[in-house]
C-alpha cells in the first residue's frame, strides 16, 4: 500500500501528456471523454466561484474569503472520488469540495458574510461547513469514521487540511486515534507550500507524508495539480477505508497561488519568481492541454463551460447581495438539537433586552 514516497503519483504532465502507471491507471479506467470534461468543468467553475468571492470581499460584501486558487485539482479530484454516502470534513478553503458535493454555490458566501453560522445542512450534502479552527476537523472526521464503523456502515470519511495543520495537536491526535482504532478515515493533506506566511520546509523536516509512517498509517504522495492522479489515489484510499482496513494519508502537493485569505498579502513573504514555476503547473491549464491533445474539448463544450462558470458567478453575486441579515433571535437556534433550559433562559433575556429599545424596527 505504501507508495514510492519520493516520487509523487503523476498521471498528467504539466504539458498535458498522459503518464502511464498501471497500478493507478486501472483506478480511473472507467473515465471517458464525458468524465474528463466534467472534471475540467468542475475545476473551471470552482475557480470562477473563487474569483467572484474575492471580488465580493474587495467590495465589502463579505468579510473574509480563503481563496483556493491553484488547488482546484486537489479538491475536485478528491471530492469527485467520494461516493454519496461518504462524508467530507473540510477546512475553510475547500469551496470546490463543497461545490462537488452538491452544495449550491449561492450559499458558499453565507458564513463569510456573517449572516449564518452554518450555510448548509451538513447531513444533506455529507460535507461539513468550513472549520475555522485549524485541524479540528481531523478529530471530527476520525470520530465520525469510528461511529460509522460501529454502525456497520460501509462508507469512507475524508478529512481535508493543509500542511500547516500537520503541526497542530488536533491532527496529531486524530492520526494517533485513527491508527489505534483503525478508523476508516482518509487524511487528505493539501500541501499548498504555505502555512499562512511560513513555508512548508519550516513545518516539517521530512516530506509531510512521512509523518504518517510514525503512526503506522499508509500514505500516498500525489501531484496535487494533476486531477487524474488525485482522483486515482483518493479512490484507492477511500476503498481502503470502506473495506475496513483503516486510515490512510494522502499528501497532495500543490500550491496556494493566492493569499492565505483576503486579509493577507503574500508578496510580503514570497517572490513572484516562486509563483512563476507554479503557474507553469497550473491544474486547469494542464487538464485543458490534456483535453486538447485528445481532441475532446470542442468549441461548443468550451463555450458551455465558460457560460456555466459566468452563470454560477452571477448567481453567487446576486445571492450574496440579496442575503438578508438574520434576526438576532436565530443566534439561539441550532445550539442544541432539542429544547434546552439554559438556551431558553438566554433567549428570553435577549428578547427582553431587544424589547427595551424604542425602535422595534428590524428587531424581531
Amino acid at each position: 500500500m505504501i507508495d514510492n514516497l519520493d516520487y509523487p503519483v503523476q498521471l498528467l504532465q504539466p504539458d498535458g501528456a498522459r503518464v502511464c502507471r498501471t497500478e493507478y491507471d486501472r483506478l480511473i479506467a472507467d473515465l471517458g471523454p464525458t468524465e474528463y470534461i466534467s472534471l475540467y468543468r468542475d475545476m473551471v467553475i470552482s475557480r470562477r466561484i473563487d474569483t467572484a468571492a474575492v471580488a465580493l470581499q474587495r467590495q465589502g460584501e463579505i468579510g473574509l474569503w480563503a481563496p483556493l486558487l491553484g488547488q482546484e485539482a486537489a479538491q475536485v479530484g478528491s471530492a469527485r472520488a467520494l461516493k454519496p454516502d461518504d462524508f467530507a470534513f473540510v477546512s475553510y478553503r475547500e469551496h470546490a469540495v463543497a461545490y462537488c458535493r452538491g452544495v449550491p454555490p449561492e450559499v458558499l458566501t453565507h458564513m463569510w458574510r456573517g449572516c449564518s453560522h452554518s450555510a448548509w445542512d451538513p447531513n444533506q450534502f455529507n460535507v461539513t461547513n468550513p472549520a475555522i479552527v485549524v485541524g479540528s476537523q481531523g478529530l471530527h472526521a476520525t470520530g465520525y469514521a469510528l461511529g460509522a464503523h460501529l454502525d456497520g456502515a460501509e462508507i469512507a470519511t475524508i478529512a481535508y487540511f493543509g500542511d500547516g495543520a500537520t503541526s497542530q495537536g488536533d491532527i496529531a491526535e486524530a492520526l494517533g486515534f485513527a491508527a489505534s482504532f483503525r478508523a476508516g478515515v482518509v487524511f487528505f493533506c493539501q500541501n499548498n507550500q504555505w502555512a499562512i506566511s511560513e513555508p512548508v520546509s519550516l513545518q516539517s523536516r521530512t516530506p509531510i507524508s512521512h509523518r504518517a509512517d510514525g503512526y503506522g498509517i499508509p500514505s500516498f504522495r500525489v501531484d496535487g495539480n494533476d486531477v487524474l492522479a488525485v482522483l486515482a489515489v483518493t479512490r484507492a484510499a477511500l476503498a481502503h477505508a470502506r473495506e475496513g482496513s483503516g486510515p490512510t494519508f494522502i499528501e497532495a502537493i500543490t500550491c496556494r497561488m493566492g493569499p492565505h485569505t483576503t486579509s493577507d498579502d503574500p508578496s510580503r513573504y514570497r517572490s513572484d519568481t516562486d509563483m512563476a514555476e507554479w503557474r507553469r503547473r497550473d491544474p486547469i491549464t494542464r487538464m485543458r492541454a490534456f483535453l486538447e491533445r485528445r481532441g475532446i474539448l470542442d468549441e461548443t463544450a468550451d463555450a458551455e463551460i465558460s457560460t456555466a462558470a459566468e452563470d454560477v458567478a452571477a448567481r453567487l453575486r446576486h445571492a450574496t447581495l440579496e442575503t438578508p441579515d438574520p434576526p438576532p433571535s436565530t443566534l439561539f437556534e441550532h445550539v442544541y438539537t432539542g429544547p434546552h433550559p439554559l438556551i431558553e433562559h438566554e433567549r428570553e433575556q435577549h428578547r427582553e433586552y431587544l424589547a427595551s429599545f424604542d425602535d422595534q424596527e428590524a428587531m424581531s
Binding site: 467590495q59 465589502g60 460584501e61 456573517g114 483576503t262 486579509s263 498579502d265 427595551s356 429599545f357 425602535d359
Partner: protein, 343 residues
Amino acid sequence: MNTAEFRLPDLGEGLTSAELVSWRVDVGDTITLDQVIADVESAKALVELPSPYAGMVTDLLVEPGATVPVGAPIIRITTAESAEPAPPSVLVGYGPQASHSSRRRRHVPQTMHQDGETAPTHTRRMASAMTSSARAPQATVFVTVDVTASMDLLAKLRNSAPFENISVTPLTLAAKSLVTAIASSPEVNSTWDEQSGSSVKHPHVNLGIAVASDRGLLVPNIKDADTLSLLDLARSINELTATARAGRTDTPHLTGGTVTITNVGVFGVDGGVPLLNPGEAAILCLGAVNERPWVVDGLIEIRSVVTLSVTFDHRGVDGRQAAEFLSLVAAMLEDPAVLLAHL
C-alpha cells in the same frame, strides 16, 4: 441611468482606513463589473479593488496617495440600468453605521447589584493608581536587621530639646537613611521612560510617605527631602501626615513624588511587599520593630529587630542594585554611625 457610489470597504477584518495607491481608470472610462479600478494598500495588504458596478466613471473622489477612511465614497459610476441592487446602507465590517438615532433604550434593565453604590473617589483613585503600578514589572528584596542602636538613639532624641513636641520614630530614621542612601544608588530615584527606553534619574528626592487616613490611602511627598536635616525631616513628616489625615493635602504635595516609604509596621505586621507608586522606581517598606531573640557574637540576646523590604521597577533597577541599596539603608539603621558617615 443611475449614479452609483462605491464606498471603501473594510479590506481586512477590522481596518479603519487604507491608502489609495493609484487609479487604474479615468473619468469617462467605461468599465465592467469586477474590473480593477484601483490599487489600495491597507495595514495588511496591497490589493486590487474591483468595481461593484458596470458603467461609466463620472468622478474619482480621492487623490492617489490619500488615506481614505473605511466607508468614504471613492468613485462615482453612472450605470446603464437600475438592475443592480442598491448598495447596502451598512457595509460589512466597520463601515459607517446607519443612523440609529431612533433606537434609544426606553429603560435600562436592572443589572447585577454590588452591595451599595460605586466605591468612594479615594478608593477608585487608589484602584487606578495600583492598576497603573501593575504595568511596571516589579520585584522585591527583604532584609531583617537589628536596630537596637537606632532605638537607643531615638530614645535620646525624644528627650532632647530640639525634638520637643516633634514625633521622631523609626520611620523618621528610615526616611533619613533612605534619602541619604540614594546618593550612593541614584538609580532608585528615577522614572523609567517607556518611549526612550531609558531610566531618567531625578536631581532631587521628593519623598512620598504613604499615609492611611479616613479618606483612604494618600501618598503626599516632601519636596527635596535629601536636603533636610533629621530635625527638619521629622518636622516635615509630622506636618505632612497631620495634613493628610485632616484631608487638607494640596495637589502639589500629592504629585511629583520620586520615591516612597511606607510604614506597615504601625499596624503590627512584620513587613510586606509594597507596590510601586506609579512612575517611581522604588518603595521602601518598614515593618514593626519588635524585640526578638537575636544572635550577637555567638550568643542569643533580646534585640529590637525590623524587617525592611524594597520593591523596585525591574526595568531600570536590577536585583543587585536594589539589594545594595537596601543593605545600605539597613546598615544605617543598624548603626547610625554609618548614616552619619554618609551625610
